[in-house]
Each structure stands twice: as C-alpha cells, then as structure tokens.
Symmetry: C2
Subunit: 342 residues, 2 copies
Amino acid sequence: MSETRTEIASLGEFGLIGRINESFKPTLPESVKGIGDDAAVIDLGGEYGLLSTDLLLEGVHFDLTFAPLKHLGYKAVAVNVSDIAAMNGIPGQITVSLAVSNRFSVEAIDELYSGIQSACKDFRVDLVGGDLSSSRSGLLISVSVFGKVAKDKIVYRNTAKPSDLLCVSGDLGGAYMGLQILEREKGVFLADPNMQPEFDSKEYVLQRQLKPEARMDVVYELAGAGVVPTAMIDVSDGLASDLLHLCTQSGVGAMVFEENLPIDEQTYLAATELNLSPITAAMNGGEDYELLFTVRQADYDKVKNNPKISVIGYMTDQPQEVVLATKGGNKHPITAQGWNHF
Amino acid sequence: MSETRTEIASLGEFGLIGRINESFKPTLPESVKGIGDDAAVIDLGGEYGLLSTDLLLEGVHFDLTFAPLKHLGYKAVAVNVSDIAAMNGIPGQITVSLAVSNRFSVEAIDELYSGIQSACKDFRVDLVGGDLSSSRSGLLISVSVFGKVAKDKIVYRNTAKPSDLLCVSGDLGGAYMGLQILEREKGVFLADPNMQPEFDSKEYVLQRQLKPEARMDVVYELAGAGVVPTAMIDVSDGLASDLLHLCTQSGVGAMVFEENLPIDEQTYLAATELNLSPITAAMNGGEDYELLFTVRQADYDKVKNNPKISVIGYMTDQPQEVVLATKGGNKHPITAQGWNHF
C-alpha cells in the first residue's frame, strides 16, 4: 500500500465515485450502463433490466430519536424505487439487508419490516431476499432493487437537449424543512424532556422527511399521456445538485424561474418560522425524491395541465450556464450546496 | 409498538429470517422464488434472473488486524458470486455499497477496490453501481449480484431426492483453520508486538479464510459434463448447517461418510497443531464457499473422475436422519453448530 494518506473528505462522495467509476468500465455486452445514472442498465434481450442500491445508516442518514422505525422501513424502499422511477422503469423485486445491534428488540425489527411491507404494497414490489447481521453500533439498512423498462422507454440523465422544457414533479424543500423542525424539537426535548413537541400544521413537511414517496404515479401518468422524457433524475441531493448533474452529463445549460418553483404552503410557513429561505430549501434541501425531467417543447400540452408537474424552466445550449432567474429580475448561477456527509 | 420486548438473540438469525419470510410472500408472477434459497429467482421471459446480496461488517465478519483490504474486497465479491453459482447460474453484474469511517484513507479504499476489481475480472462480472456513505464505526461492505440461468438448468436447494449422491467441491474446513491460525497469531502479536507471525506451511488455509473463491469453475465443468445437479447450496455456514438446510427443505435424509470428507493436508496439520478436530472443522467450520450438491446416481460416471468433486454420501427417504458414518463404524446425527453472530 502507498505511504501517502489522502483523506476521503478531500475528495468527497462524488469525487470518490468518480475515482471508482474511472477504473470500473463495464466489459460484458449486457452491461449497457454502469455507474453514473440512477440505476445500472442490463440488456435482458427483449427489454432492459435496472439495478440500483442505497444504504441508510443510523447517525448518518437517520436519527431514531424522531424517525419511527415503520416510516424508516418505508423510506428505505421508497428511495430505491425512486431510482427505478428516474429511469422511467417499473420496479419489481427488492432485497433488504439489515445490521442491528442488540439495542433492538424483535418487536422493533417487526415495526421496521411492517413499513417495508407497506412500501412493497404501495409500489407493487416483492421482497425476495436479503441478509441479516449483528452490528456493533446501531442500525444499518441496505436495499437493492431490480426493475425493468422497455428499450424504447428508458430515460437517462445525460440526454437532455437545448430548448427542452425542464419539469419537476410535486413540490420541493418540504423534506428539508421537516428535518429542521424535527431537529428543533429534538433540541427542545433534550433541554427539557417535559416539553411536548409542536408539530401542529407541520404534518406535511414532517411526512416529506420521514415517509417520502417514490413518484411511480408520475411515471405511470407520463406513460399514459404518451410522454417519454428526454432526460430524468430523481431529486435526492437537492434541485441544484441534481440539475447540475443532469446539465453536466447532458452538456447543456438551464434557465430556472424562481417563480415557477413548486413550494408547498407548509414549507413556506416552516421556513418563515425558522428564518430560513424557502427558495434555498427548495434549491438545496434534498431528500424530496421528486422527479426532475426534461421534455420536448412539442410535449408541453401533454404536461401543462397535470397538477403533479411544474414546468420550472428550459434547457439551453450554454453548458456553463445553469441559472436561477429571480422574481426581482436577477440571474444567479446555480451552485451545488448538496449534502456531503464525509 | 408492542410493550413486549423479545431479544433478537432468542430467535437467532435463521429464526428471524423465518419470521420475515412468513410475512413476505411474493405477489408478482415474475417473482418465481423469494427468500429461502441462495438467490431470488425472477422470470425474465426466456430465462431466469437471479438476485442475491450479502453484508460484511468489520468486527462481525472480518478483522482488519489481519484481513488485507485487497483480499477483503475480493472476498466480498466472491461470496456473492458463490450464491449465483449455488443456483447453477452465471453472474453478470454487481453493486457495491460501502460505509467507511474517517479512519480510512483514499489509498485504503483504493486497495479495497483493487481486490473488488480483481474478483470482477476472475468471475467475469461488471461492477455497475453502489452507494458510498460515511460510517461512525468502521467499515461495512454490502454487495448485491445479478445473474442469469437457463430455465431448464436452474438448481434449487429443496429438490434433492432419496438415493441421489451427495457431492461437495474442493475441500472443507480450511477457512475455519485459517481463521484459528490468524486469531492465534493476533493473540501472540497483542501480547508482544515484536513477535513475528508464524505462517509457514499455512498459506493455503490462510488463503481459504482471507481470499475464498466462488466455484464458478465447478459450475462450468458440471455443465460441460452434461450434469444438472438435483439440488445445490453453497457451504457458507459449514457442511452440517448447509446440509441440514438442503435436507429439511427437500424433505430427505442423508448419510455422509467421514472417510470421504475432502480435507486438505494443511487443514489437518493446522488442526493437529491447535488440538482441534479436522472433522469438526470440516463439518462446522464454515466460510469454505464450496458447492454442496446432489446428483442422480446415473450421473455418477460423469462426476467420479473430476478431482474437484468428492462424493461424500447419499440421500435417503428418512427426513429425520441426517447422519455421519465414522471411520470406526459409528453413526452420529449431524447437528448444526453453525455460527450465530447474534
């Protein structure tokens, strides 16, 4: 081993992934797409198989002080299904591996699996395998998902074209505001365990954080409307970060209109209460698991009346320019302030 | 949540898996086989897809005091490929998720991935995805594998028939003896850091522990000989434990002849040196990742001259009787003393 020691933090998650990606180029003809999109793509002959995986660790991705185990199980499945949705695919089977410390009882594990089961039902996937291990420290959940998509319906993140319309499903920033509220109430509780948390009128943002949905409904509705997006990615790291991935990999720029950003009223109110900017929450919050996608201008009529879809801007032929046009008429370059947990 | 608290240790790993299995029956017609075999089976139309996953945790499954990161990366891939081999399948793609603490440098991660890459090359699989996370405590590796098998070539573990011959590839007990040697030398080193470890003439058992192989070579050779096993499982928990799985699920019994157990000379010598029984190592050691399988008697001529395959017994129609016939002429019931890490 080399004597040099380079800290992982100096590369960050994306730097490390890039480094790994360099040395792992697919060699089998069936491996259509390796690292670099929401899911890997495997040629099955008649159609494409999709494979993706996500890791959730206690103390890094979730805090059991406020995350109910049942919701956590649901979320672990949803974030994986979201990766299949982002390829315009249909999920089929999942595996779930758990590492648990002896702090957890069988009843706690049952709670977790009841959430997994609920998500399996909602997203019509089967749990078909997994692994179980003891853990020295807390809970770890590793989920993998297998799905499929017709070859002429697959959507990558690197195929957006200039003048395509930029769309996003649902609304943004809610999951981030939910987390801020939960952190605040945790602080209050730790300071005085007799205090009751104040969650009135915050149910929606809390749910966005604790029990996010994968937007399979949007995948089905786009198919029903006869729309195949030109590019797609799920919003896991925040609109800014994920839009930059989409632009960089497609070699295009983007113009986003602040006034078109879909933000729920509860997200606005929570942001105001905490002296945070709802626009920052929407742009950089992350964990919304909405679909960010581009469509041809000719498809505008097919998406404009869908209440689940907002057209928030358009793509340009200026790859260096990914810009937010504010309500005040200013233009700000969009930069990633995504979450780096290293 | 219920007020009752049941300790996970009271159920054990297999008890917990059984409990989960009960509540997760596949619902999609494509999900041919869920939890309960070495890999899940997915109907792809013309052939079957295979999906499996394994978790490796520092302090539970490996000890970085003596496990080189490169070998660990290799092992993480091999144990997953072994699950595909046990279905008589061909692996194609893997995903690798890592959780690493800041104790690890980029160079250490490079070492780990160089082992992963080496295994990818040896087993002809592509790394196509994964996830990266920080960890509060040590290293965690979660690998998932996707493979395929022709519908008329798939082999389950629950389809052994009475009078089938029981076969095992390679040799047994080596990985366990390698671990014992490593643990002994670790103890010596901790007591006196100036002591050099004594690994002379133990290269083979050390390699069996640190860098096991998946027996894809045996899968290819069986196919070449025109043999489709009637049932198969990989020996990960020890011959006794895995044979009991095979018998229980097939509803058959087994007679195993002690004198036929394949045990390498280094395994014998290491066992003697440590005052352990080589037979116990072979029966209960685990982590050999050999293939345990049954063939029709009519296929005996096709396997008997393969030096990689030992015929160690036969299956019976007495499901309650899984028996070891000793060299001395005694018969002992085989019981699982497999590893329970809870």
